[in-house]
Symmetry: C2
Subunit: 228 residues, 2 copies
C-alpha cells in the first residue's frame, strides 16, 4: 500500500536548515497496524504529513498503491486525501465556527450521491461511537480538550477511509477513554483497515502489530510487536 | 492562598444548561503541590480557568490571598494574572505570528523596570530549562507538538510566578520529557511555589503531595499522596 524510499524533509530557516526527516525507508502493507514512537521533535508528525499527502518531501519517493504521489495531479491527490485517508491531527484542527456535528460531516461533503440527511446520520453515528452524541451542537470552544480530540477521531472515521493516520489521538484523554479509542482502532483494523498511529505511550503502542521508532529524523527500529 | 466555596459554573446552550462545575469546596495553601485528575469533561479545565481568573463562576466564592476575587477590579485582576500566576494551557495558545522567544517574553512585558535585553535573557533561560534554546527563532507552526507544549511551559515559569496552574502540560510529551517537566515542577515547588497540575496520568500525578479527583463537576476525592 505504502512504499517510502529515502524520504527526506528539510526546512530552510534563513541560513540554517532543519533536517526533520533524514532518509526514511519503509513499506506498510494494506491491513497493517503500525505504531510510530520516538522523542519530541524526531519527525513523526512531519512523516505523517507526507503520508497524508498534506506536504511534499524535499527528496526521495512515496508510492501509494503503486502510484508515485509526486506525479499525481492535484485532483488525484485531493481524491486520495478525501476518500482514502482519515486523519486525526495532533492539534485537532476543528473549524471553530462549526459545530461538532458539522465538523464530523466535513469529509462526507464530497460524496455527491449522499443526501444531507444521510450525512447527518452517518456523522451522528460516528459521534455516538466516541460517546459525544449529546455534544453534537457544541462548538469546539464549548468542548473540553478530550472532547475536541474525540470529535477529531469521529471525523477521521466517518467516511470509512481505507487507512487511518492518527497523530497522538489520546494525548488529552484519560486512560479509560484512551483504551476505548485503541479498541476502536483494533475493531477497524479487524474490518480490514490500515492503521498508522503515532503515540508516546508504550502501553497504547502495544495494541499495534508492529512498532517503528524514530529518532532525529531516522527510523532506528522497526519490529513486530512480540507482546501481542 | 486559595479558598473556594460552593463554586459552580454553568453554560447556557439555548434551553439546555451544561453544569460544568456543581459546587466545589477546596482550600489550597501556599506551597502546596496538588494534582487534579478526572475523566474527560469532568470540569478540570473549567475549574483551572476560574482559579486563573480567566473566567467568572456562576455562583459561589473564590478567595485568593484573603481577597474575594469577584470584588477585585479589573486592574487588580490583571495584576494577579500577570504577576502571581503562571498558566500552562491545555491548548498552548501561543501567538502564531510571534517566535518562541517572543512568546516566552510576553509575561515580562508588564515589568517596566526590566530592559528588553534583560527580558530576552530571562526568556532564553526559561527556554534553556525546557531544552529549546535552539528553537528561539521558530514560529509555533515550525515546532513539533511537544516543542510547542514546552514553549508554553517556559512562558508559564519565566516571571517566577507564586503559583503555577498547569493543565495537562505533558499530553504531547514522550515519557522522558514528561518526567523532566514533573521534576522541574518538583524543583519549583521546593523553592516555595504552589503548583496545581491537571493530568490524566497516574504516575505523573504521584509527583504531587495531594491528589484531587473530579467527576461530573464535583470533587469526589481529595487526599494526601501516600506513595511519596
Ligand atoms: N463554553 C462552553 N459552553 C458549553 N459547554 C461547555 C463550555 N466549556 C466547557 N463546556 C462543557 O463543560 C464540561 C467540562 O469541560 P472541561 O473543559 O472543564 O472538562 P475537562 O475536565 O477539562 O476535560 P478534559 O479532560 O477532556 O480536558 C464539558 O462537558 C464541556 O462540554
Ligand atoms: N515548518 C517548519 N519549519 C522549521 N522547522 C520545522 C517545521 N516544522 C517542523 N519543524 C522541525 O522539525 C522537527 C520535527 O518536527 P515534528 O513535528 O515532525 O516532530 P514530532 O516527532 O512530531 O514531535 P512531537 O512528538 O513533539 O509531536 C522539529 O525539530 C521541528 O522543530
Ligand atoms: Mg508531533
Ligand atoms: Mg481539560
Amino acid at each position: 500500500l505504502i512504499s517510502v524510499r529515502d524520504l527526506t524533509k528539510s526546512y530552510q530557516m534563513g541560513e540554517i536548515s532543519v533536517h526533520a526527516l533524514r532518509g526514511i525507508n519503509l513499506d506498510i502493507d494494506e491491513g497493517d497496524f503500525v505504531a510510530i514512537m520516538g522523542p519530541s521533535g524526531s519527525g513523526k508528525t512531519t512523516f505523517m504529513n507526507l503520508l497524508g499527502c498534506l506536504d511534499k518531501p524535499t527528496s526521495g519517493s512515496y508510492f501509494l498503491d503503486g502510484i508515485n504521489v509526486a506525479e499525481m495531479d492535484d485532483k488525484a491527490i485531493t481524491q486520495v486525501r478525501n476518500q482514502k485517508i482519515g486523519y486525526v491531527f495532533q492539534a485537532f484542527y476543528l473549524l471553530p465556527r462549526t459545530t461538532a456535528l458539522e465538523n464530523v460531516e466535513l469529509p462526507l461533503l464530497y460524496r455527491h450521491k449522499m443526501s444531507s440527511k444521510e450525512r447527518r446520520e452517518k456523522a451522528m453515528q460516528a459521534l455516538e461511537i466516541v460517546g459525544l452524541a449529546d455534544r453534537a451542537k457544541h462548538y469546539p470552544n464549548q468542548l473540553s480538550g478530550g472532547q475536541q480530540q474525540r470529535v477529531a477521531i469521529a471525523r477521521a472515521i466517518v467516511n470509512d477511509p481505507a487507512f487511518i493516520l492518527a497523530d497522538e489521538p489520546t494525548g488529552n484523554l484519560d486512560s479509560r477513554t484512551s483504551v476505548e479509542v485503541l479498541e476502536l482502532f483494533q475493531k477497524l483494523h479487524s474490518q480490514g483497515k490500515t492503521i498508522i498511529l503515532v503515540t508516546h505511550e508504550y502501553d497504547l503502542s502495544h495494541y499495534a502489530l508492529r512498532i517503528i521508532t524514530f529518532r532525529d529524523g531516522k527510523v532506528i527500529s522497526d519490529a513486530p510487536n512480540l507482546d501481542v
